[in-house]
């Protein structure tokens, strides 16, 4: 089957919003998330001839954004580097819906190696096998982390929904 051909503009339209969601969930800051997405498409422009198959493009874009995000933290001087978890996110700036707020709060308490595959699956729609290739860890490990991530999210929400709502 012939892969569908896309122009750069179509590529942007198809993916910029979901990449922004991924970037925001990873770095927690709207301005940085915007930079990450722009950087990613900057690189995509350079590689646009290889990105004409839609499915390959999606994995490429997420991988590139992850790399840019990692570089962002490598580059930061120690005093500005956030502690190993996410930077403190003013979640309330992003959402006013209390259910979403509660969900984001528990998501941010997940360990990063659980949160990242989960975000790739929920936002990018990647399978365990695809995530395994992107993160360069075994498929079994990815499956286990996804399973535990969802278990932890649910039990955290079951435990304290009232507390979060009351804030």
């Amino acid at each position: 089957m012939k892969p569908s051909q896309t122009t750069f503009e179509e590529l942007v339209d198809a993916h910029y919003a979901e990449l922004y969601h991924f970037a925001l969930a990873r770095c927690g800051r709207a301005d940085l998330a915007q930079d990450l997405v722009q950087e990613t498409f900057s690189r995509a422009w350079g590689a646009r001839r290889q990105l004409q198959s839609v499915q390959r493009a999606r994995a490429w874009l997420y991988t590139t954004l992850r790399r840019e995000h990692a570089r962002l933290y490598e580059r930061q001087r120690p005093e500005t580097r956030p502690s190993e978890q996410l930077p403190v996110v003013p979640v309330s700036d992003r959402h006013c819906d209390p259910d979403s707020l509660a969900l984001l709060q528990v998501l941010e308490r997940l360990a990063d190696n659980y949160r990242e595959p989960l975000l790739l699956q929920v936002l990018g729609g990647f399978s365990c096998a695809e995530i395994s290739a992107m993160l360069e860890i075994s498929e079994n490990t990815v499956c286990t982390r996804l399973y535990r991530a969802r278990r932890q999210l649910r039990s955290a929400l079951d435990d304290e929904p009232k507390k979060v709502l009351a804030r």
Binding site: T7, F8, E9, V12, D13, Y16, A17, Y20, H21, L24, A25, A30, D31, L32, Q34, D35, V37, Q38, E39, F41, S42, W45, G46, R71, L72, R75, Q76, R77, R94, H95, D97, D99, S100, L101, L103, L104, L107, L119, Q121, V122, L123, G125, S127, C128, C143, T144, L146, Y147, R150, R151, L153, R154
Partner: protein, 234 residues
């Protein structure tokens, strides 16, 4: 597939389409309820993450890249592609002849510009805002203090020795490329000439910078201005 296996698989990936997985959901009421609950939860999670992107982000991305190359630039592009190819060839032969001498910094700079030729093409109808520029500098451990004029592209690029910033500003004779290379020191000012391009590589307080424009562009003037506005804290 038994219920235990089903529930494990469900939490690994609720969107699975495997036959035995879907068959179990169809046949077992308890697991079907769990399946539906899980799908609803995924939808909630997705909705929570879908914060609307800032207005204008799409336009900024599209305008950063001249997707609509003007016909007049086609010829230039071929010239440059040829130039880059010959430079690459030169690099290949050079490496075989002298094992220790890599390509010159001038060759690398021209190669980099040629590789990202589309950045110089198309009409300049969108300018990078100063906040974004400053963030790019901060991200690399630098500081921009002052204005660089009208910047039509700004991004971080991989360069020999480490990351740098690749800017394209509007000059008097068309686009001018600025490559800020904090990890690439030079001993003195190196002139640069290739085809219809001319420019200069000069040292900064950390590393160096290349300023390359069309023939006749007063690059030294711009280089001086950049040198005064850019500081690295590395």
């Amino acid at each position: 597939m038994n219920c235990l296996q089903f529930r494990r698989k469900l939490l690994e990936d609720p969107t699975r389409q495997e036959d035995d997985f879907l068959t179990h959901a169809g046949q077992c009421a308890g697991c079907r309820a769990e399946y539906l609950r899980c799908q609803a939860f995924e939808q909630e999670l997705l909705a929570a993450l879908q914060v609307p992107p800032p207005a204008g982000l799409r336009e900024e991305i599209i305008h950063q890249h001249p997707g609509r190359a003007a016909t007049g630039t086609k010829h230039r592009r071929w010239l440059l592609t040829g130039l880059a190819a010959s430079l690459l060839l030169g690099i290949g032969i050079g490496m075989r002849l002298t094992v220790f001498a890599g390509p010159s910094l001038q060759q690398e700079v021209i190669g980099h510009i040629a590789h990202e030729m589309p950045l110089l093409e198309g009409p300049a109808d969108h300018w990078v805002d100063n906040d974004r520029l400053r963030r790019l500098f901060t991200g690399l451990g630098g500081e921009l203090d002052g204005e660089l004029g009208r910047v039509r592209h700004a991004g971080r690029c991989h360069m020999d020795g480490g990351d740098g910033l690749h800017l394209v500003v509007q000059g008097e004779r068309g686009p001018v490329t600025l490559l800020l290379m904090p990890a690439q020191p030079v001993d003195g000012v190196l002139p640069l000439q290739a085809g219809e391009f001319q420019g200069v590589i000069m040292p900064l307080d950390h590393g160096s910078m290349a300023v390359v424009g069309n023939n006749g562009e007063p690059v030294m003037h711009l280089a001086e201005r950049v040198r005064k506005s850019v500081h690295w804290h590395l």
